[in-house]
């Protein structure tokens, strides 16, 4: 069987046949087909099983509103469920499978649900699975999830990449139908920057699906000629296969471009889809309209379709939904379908027109004042039952029924800022109301102007008006001639019956469900939606909402306007999550920062750790070291015994200049800085306004009006922001300029008793760095290695005699190599952040672990660093009563007893007290194994800690099920007098 329903003509390329498979059947189609049209051409009507009742379902539309034709596309990791067949461009080798059926589409065991429908109506879940409560998660939900639902994801990582992009324009035109094309021509000719997006791969909108002439040529040819003209304009960008999915603030629109969905596999390195953020000064929504169905018993049988889709398949794709087709309409548009079908040689069984005054037809018998009341046929339409005007019934043979219940303007994007559509009686549809997104106008069928001539004229008029608002004058041009027929609708929503009549085919909601919701007093549209799930499927009820509302309106005796609508939200059409992630996946989730010695550290085989965005060397394993502790212990001992080197470029460096720099630094630090001499460095404590410690670090005075502040790595950005706030908002009276210098300098800590000896080989001889000339806390501009400008600071985080040497970042790689060479005689040892952490814990230096935002200077034992002699940020509030209580938390050292470990995060309890929040006395902030003391040690805070040195406490860690006995000691495990660092 090959393309039994293929007709002549159409906009397909018969020279390019394509083969594809559906549920394992090998089929063929042509370039220019969608999967939907190719299935239609191959005579396949049954494409899926419904969500809840597993009813056999077929394609009902030819566009993005399709509720039924959902398949799994592709295989392996690229498997994508719930793909709309109407939006899937056919490609060679396409592999599609139906969903939600077992064992097969034709014989689905779960269709037993359909027999149980009387139990499964609206509110079924709410009523049935109330108790016992714990059964919900364990029993009910897994069963329901398995039975209901659509396709399944592969569970593998998506092998494709997605991109993000940004575009700007004067006028964004959404939809390339007659209104959109005319608007684009008008704006393009006026020289405006135009972006024209269309979800189809071929521009023209309805013109591609109709046979009307425009401007004396076929509508689709006119569309092609418009695109050809627009393509010559540099100021117009045409984006096919692109859907505007949302409107956001300030003229920002999200557009998803399906770059490679029409290919089996994207080209290497190229994205599958791009999420464009379009900044538009003005936008014009030309999204057209969606045809709605009329509800009648068993109206979900495969073969029952929108009338516009039926003729669309015939006209554009040369694919006939059936050999014999009946038409059911309440307006003149249904008659167009009859004309087009007859022209294509299809037998039009009859036009069942619910209007008593229906026009006559040249091509088929018109059954006036009649309605379709039921359908029959196994797994597809065979007959329809017509309830005649006179009361009798007639059975008609037909393989398809084309239903036209009128057209709903696609108002969705106008509702994205909670704009409410308004009801327009003459077309029996909602049109965009006031209060839509600012800068978004609507043209053509999207605002209820359905004729081609009307849409063309409106597109031009709206474009001119929108451009005028932004100062661009566009000229009106002569309109191409086109049909201007009225559709003459007489609303008709549903045919009364005794069986189920379907509204929302994606979520299996029937007229009966609406009645039940009404009966049970779920009458507000928002309640109706949630109780019945009407309009809650992936299509947001594009083919069902208005039907449901009209039935609720009938039941409540209100108008449809009074009944109102629910809110449409982005995305307009279902959108893969991957496109929102864009390139931000895996290792590319965020950028990294590399310290200047990174490449050298890689050569050394360092193990790296993420510290914020920085990638820092954590330790440098040597041959034979199998456990990280071996490396870290070695690095610590080598540094304390001789000399070690560590890249500390990651610490924040802020260059502070200006006549008011000294006063400024004095104001942001709680301790005194005004009198710091040039050439000296001081440890500073920075408080938040609320008196808590914000950060600490050393600040060097490089000149009378020049300071260089160092922050912790983690707080570099936050401290800079804080300083800018102080500079701009709190002390604009001071002359202060700030600039970040973090990236400018490669800075290395050189620590250990032999650090001076190593540096003396590199520092140029005119600079004396002896203890006398360059004592502890000295700093200065020097040169190294034959004239390279550098900065030297005699500061120590490790507690050893230590320096930090800074060179311009571009020399960082050379500097670490030079340090290693100069240090060779002293067995210089590079150390990573672990050893750095061990040594600072041994020395009792605090870091981010301790400065956790709840800690005061007093908690740290540094209350004397909050100067009373001056004003500084946080000084006043640090004196709050509760913060100066005598029994407050106090920083202590903790040493494990009996071979146990100190664990950070443990809470501290006095021996013999219950382990509960009431008796909690503090907690452990940092822990390390000290190779120097050969013991597990830590830092922590405990109530009244300064007076408790020597006391044994219990550290409890219920999360990890651990407990330990710890001895409270001084936080300075090493060299408490500071002799080493002054050596």
């Amino acid at each position: 069987m090959t393309q039994v329903n293929r007709l002549d003509g159409g906009l397909i390329d018969r020279n390019t046949p394509l083969s594809f498979s559906f549920d394992g059947r090998q089929l063929t189609g042509y370039a220019g087909d969608t999967l939907a049209s190719a299935l239609v051409a191959n005579g396949i009507r049954l494409v899926g099983r419904s969500f809840k009742y597993h009813r056999p379902r077929g394609i009902i539309s030819a566009g993005s509103e399709e509720p039924n034709g959902l398949v799994e596309l592709r295989s392996g990791a690229r498997r994508e469920p719930n793909s709309r067949v109407t939006m899937t461009e056919l490609f060679d080798g396409l592999d599609a499978r139906s969903q939600n059926r077992w064992p097969s589409l034709g014989f689905d065991l779960m269709s037993v649900n359909d027999r149980l429908s009387s139990f499964l109506g609206a509110g079924f879940y709410y009523k049935t699975f109330m108790w016992p409560k714990k059964f919900w998660e364990l029993v009910y939900e897994p069963i329901i999830r398995r039975a209901a639902g659509l396709g399944a994801l592969s569970g593998e990582d998506d092998p494709d990449v997605y991109d993000r992009g940004y575009r700007h324009c004067d006028l964004l035109i959404i939809g390339a139908g007659p209104a959109g094309l005319m608007a684009a021509l008008t704006a393009g000719r006026a020289g405006a920057e135009v972006i024209l997006v269309d979800e189809d791969f071929r521009a023209g909108g309805r013109l591609t699906l109709e046979t009307h002439d425009v401007g004396g040529m076929a509508g689709c040819d006119w569309a092609d000629s418009a695109i050809a003209e627009l393509s010559t304009m540099d100021n117009v960008r045409i984006m096919p296969r692109s859907t505007a999915i949302g409107v956001f603030d300030h003229g920002i629109y999200s557009v998803v471009e399906r770059v490679a969905d029409h290919l089996a596999v994207p080209q290497p390195g190229k994205p599958r889809q791009i999420l464009w953020r379009v900044y538009a000064k003005r936008a014009l929504l030309c999204a057209g309209a969606t045809e709605r169905l009329i509800a009648f018993d068993n109206n979900d049988r495969p073969g029952i379709m929108q009338a516009g889709a039926v003729r669309g398949f015939v006209n554009r794709y040369a694919a006939a939904p059936a050999e014999r087709i009946a038409i059911f309409t309440n307006n003149d548009d249904g008659h167009r379908t009859a004309v087009d079908l007859a022209a294509a040689g299809i037998d039009v069984t009859a036009i069942i027109d619910s209007r008593d005054e229906a026009p006559a037809s040249d091509v088929a018998e018109v059954l006036r004042g009649s309605v379709v009341s039921n359908s029959s046929g196994r797994l597809g339409l065979g007959h329809v039952t017509v309830r005649m005007a006179g009361g009798g019934h007639r059975h008609l043979d037909c393989g398809a029924l084309a239903v036209s219940g009128g057209w709903n303007p696609n108002v969705h994007l106008t509702c994205h800022h909670r704009g409410r559509p308004v009801w327009q009686d003459d077309i029996a549809a909602f049109v965009p109301g006031d209060g839509g997104p600012a800068g978004l106008a609507v043209a053509g069928a999207a605002r209820g102007i359905f004729s081609t001539a009307g849409a063309l004229a409106d597109g031009q008029a709206q474009a001119i008006a929108q451009l005028a608002e932004i100062g661009i004058t566009a000229a009106a041009s002569k309109m191409p001639e086109a049909e201007s027929d009225d559709i003459n609708i007489t609303p008709m929503w549903h045919v009364g019956g005794t069986k189920r009549a379907w509204l929302d085919q994606q979520n299996d909601v029937t007229v009966k469900d609406i009645r039940q919701a009404h009966q049970e007093n779920f009458r507000s549209v928002e309640h109706l939606k949630r109780y019945t799930t009407l309009g809650m499927a992936g299509d947001q009820g594009r083919t069902s909402n208005v039907l449901g509302l009209s039935i609720m309106a009938e039941l409540t005796g209100k108008t449809i306007q009074e009944t109102g609508t629910t809110i449409y939200r982005p995305p307009y059409t279902p959108t893969p999550i991957g496109v929102f992630a864009g390139r931000s996946t895996g290792a590319d989730f965020r950028p990294t920062r590399l310290p200047p010695s990174h490449h050298w550290a890689v050569e050394q085989g360092a193990v790296f750790v993420e510290a914020g965005a920085w990638l820092r060397a954590q330790w440098y394993p040597r041959e034979g070291e199998t456990k990280w502790r071996q490396s870290v212990d070695r690095e610590v001992l080598a540094t304390r015994q001789s000399v070690g080197v560590c890249d500390v470029s990651t610490l924040g460096k802020i260059d502070i200049q200006g006549r008011g720099a000294a006063e400024f630094v004095n104001f942001v630090y709680s301790n005194g800085f005004a009198t710091l001499p040039v050439g000296k460095t001081r440890y500073g404590l920075m408080l938040r306004e609320d008196g808590m410690v914000m950060d600490d670090g050393t600040t060097a005075r490089l000149g009378e009006d020049h300071f260089l502040m160092t922050t912790t790595t983690a707080n570099a950005g936050g401290v800079y922001r804080h300083l800018e706030f102080v500079r701009q908002c709190l002390r604009p009276d001071l002359d202060v300029q700030l600039i970040s210098a973090t990236d400018s300098w490669a800075q290395f800590a050189v620590a250990g008793p032999n650090s001076r000896a190593v540096l003396q080989q590199l520092v140029d001889p005119q600079h004396d760095i002896s203890n006398e000339a360059f004592p502890f806390m000295a700093c200065g501009n020097i040169t190294v290695c034959g004239g390279l400008p550098a900065r030297l600071f005699r500061i120590s985080f490790s507690g050893e005699l230590a320096y930090e040497i800074a060179v311009p970042a571009r020399y960082g790689d050379a500097m670490i190599r030079a340090l290693m060479t100069a240090g060779e005689p002293y067995d210089i040892t590079p150390y990573g952040t672990e050893a750095l952490g061990v040594m600072r814990i041994e020395k009792g230096h605090v870091t981010g672990n301790e400065l956790n935002g709840t800690i005061t200077a007093r908690n740290l034992g540094m209350e004397k660093m909050v100067s009373k002699k001056k004003d500084s940020i946080g000084a006043i509030l640090s004196g709050r009563e509760a913060l100066v209580a005598e029994d407050g938390l106090c920083l202590v050292g903790l040493q494990a007893l009996n071979g146990t470990d100190v664990t950070a995060g443990s809470h501290l309890f006095a021996v013999g007290t219950p382990v509960d929040a009431k008796h909690d006395q503090g907690y452990v902030t940092s822990a390390a194994y000290s190779p120097h003391l050969e013991a597990s040690i830590g830092l922590g805070f405990i109530t009244n800690g300064a007076a408790r040195h020597g006391e044994i406490v219990r550290a409890m860690n219920p999360l990890q099920g651990r407990s330990a006995e710890l001895k409270i000691v001084s936080p300075h495990f090493i060299d408490p007098e500071g002799d080493r660092l002054r050596a």
Partner: protein, 186 residues
């Protein structure tokens, strides 16, 4: 001359050049840059010194004053980034002399990595990277913009044809990765 050999921001000894499709992405090995900020209440002296130093008026927000020797890029109120057109290690020192007490100057040569973009597809590439409207940029448009979460700067040297992208030096590898990935995805 110091005995140490500098490396580029990407860690090489020579600047990296990538040619992808119609695009050429060139790492600039040794940009000479200085951060220039006006000191309080020194408007007249600052403006005068700028005119003398650059031979041009100071640029307005989102622009750069482009001269034969410098690009002076607006970075914030009374703050500029000065780029020397050819490698000039003495740039910050010279500016300090020129401006005296009217400005605070900081050598920023090592704060940034600079990539130059040329070729026919650079607008298409920039559209994948930055929300800035590169299509409407003219010579001398300068915009701070995030690129893949990095705080960057785009300087247009020739409309549609030539751009420089500045990013934090420590993120040079990530920025380079973002650029070549975007170039390859067009």
């Amino acid at each position: 001359m110091p005995r140490l050999t500098p490396t580029t921001a990407l860690g090489g000894t020579a600047p990296r050049i990538d040619e992808i499709g119609g695009l050429r992405i060139t790492e600039i090995a040794d940009p000479s840059l200085a951060a220039l900020a006006m000191r309080a209440k020194k408007n007249a002296a600052f403006t005068k010194a700028a005119k003398a130093a650059f031979g041009a008026n100071l640029p307005a927000p989102n622009t750069a004053a482009m001269t034969d020797r410098h690009a002076v890029i607006w970075m914030g109120p009374d703050q500029y980034l000065v780029e020397a057109n050819s490698a000039d290690a003495s740039l910050a020192g010279t500016l300090a002399d020129n401006f005296g007490s009217a400005a605070s100057i900081t050598d920023a040569s090592d704060a940034w990595v600079r990539f130059d973009l040329t070729g026919s597809d650079n607008i298409a590439m920039l559209e994948r990277l930055s929300a800035a409207d590169s299509r409407s940029m003219t010579a001398g448009t300068a915009t701070r913009t995030p690129i893949h979460h990095m705080a960057c700067l785009i300087l247009c040297r020739e409309a549609g044809a030539s751009f420089s992208i500045y990013g934090p030096r420590s993120s040079a590898s990530s920025l380079h990765h973002a650029l070549i990935t975007a170039a390859a995805s067009l």
